[in-house]
Symmetry: C2
Subunit: 183 residues, 2 copies
DNA sequence: AAAAAATTGTCTACTGGGAAACAATAATGA
DNA sequence: TCATTATTGTTTCCCAGTAGACAATTTTTT
């Protein structure tokens, strides 16, 4: 029940790279060092690597902000998307959040048990499953929305507000998502 | 043994959001729609959400590039960091990659079994474990390095080279990592 | 020197999440 | 119409990765 994922585990933190204990921040490509600094080499240019670390760091912040509410990132996204797209098909929801259908089944059922969402088979396609929020679900969104907004308003860790905005813009472009917030 | 993670699962793809089947890309905040488009609402401004999707997309590209080599992102990062930092402590490696120590133990042992890395207890601290690549490990790096370089040279999916570079720069700044590649 | 506290790697148990196969239904083609 | 193919949600099995406790060892305090 402890908070968990935006579809990705992580509860507390502990790791988070950032500059290591050592202090000498000089450029020093020497090998065989038992001291504290680490050289990432080509990895510092690898998009996937950077994104992974950034995501982890971002999530740590997320859990800090939502500490009081027992919520996982994945649940939050489902709630938000359902709020914005009532009646959306389960598979469509999964695809839009890049969650596998199999896993979405689990999440969504649990949330149904918790009384947050409603699932029903549409008449025109008996294979499908239409989802929408219950009153309780909407109420949850009403509580979580503002917390998310405040969390985001803070901007990313080591970046200025401008840089944060630019970073988000680039990510959105890369994902082909258009902005749909007041920002 | 099928490729897997940069510390994060994902083998094939299937999901990946991107614009949905529908075509009307117009601004249309209507509710209750059974058509193909999805509104992300505030999520399109949520850093954690964007980072997660971007990472997934990036990983899909990773697996495409490394299809031939049976390698997981996590393994690659360990190989690269070990190549750059021979003799690094196991815990230090874990911290620098934001992988939990417990998990690092598993990874590193498996790689030891595969003959890629060497583990030995240093004399000055019998709790610790020093890691370095074997000849085979170095050979592996020699093969994978160029593939990674080529993969990265391609730039991110929907972005220009300039935008890709800027995105990486911002991520690096956010993570407090300095660039250590020819780029 | 002894005792308390911190570190380091490891173990066990548990969770998030993917792969593949499946049944039910819908769409398509002959 | 009937047979084939595609879609949708689900089930089962498995793996990546975390949490928390642990033993062995430093390190720090007294």
């Amino acid at each position: 029940m402890g908070g968990s994922a935006w579809p990705l585990a992580l509860r507390g933190q502990e790791s988070v790279p950032g500059r290591a204990p050592g202090n000498a921040a000089v450029d020093d490509p020497r090998k065989d060092r038992p001291d504290g600094t680490v050289h990432y080499g080509p990895l510092s240019e690898a998009m996937g690597f950077l994104l992974r670390l950034a995501q982890l760091k971002s999530f740590a912040g997320f859990f800090r902000s939502f500490e009081a509410e027992d919520i996982r990132p994945g649940e939050l996204t489902v709630l938000m998307v359902l709020h914005e797209n009532p009646g959306i098909r389960q598979g469509m929801l999964a695809k839009s959040l890049s969650i596998k259908r199999a896993h979405m089944t689990k999440m969504v059922r649990q949330m149904e048990d918790e009384g947050l969402i409603l699932r029903r088979v549409p008449e025109d396609d008996k294979r499908a499953m239409e989802l929408r929020l219950t009153e309780a679900g909407e109420a949850r969104v009403a509580v979580l929305g503002p917390i998310l907004a405040e969390h985001e308003a803070g901007g990313a860790a080591g970046l200025s507000q401008t840089e944060t905005a630019e970073l988000k813009r680039l990510l959105r472009k890369m994902l082909n998502i258009r902005n749909g917030a007041s920002g």
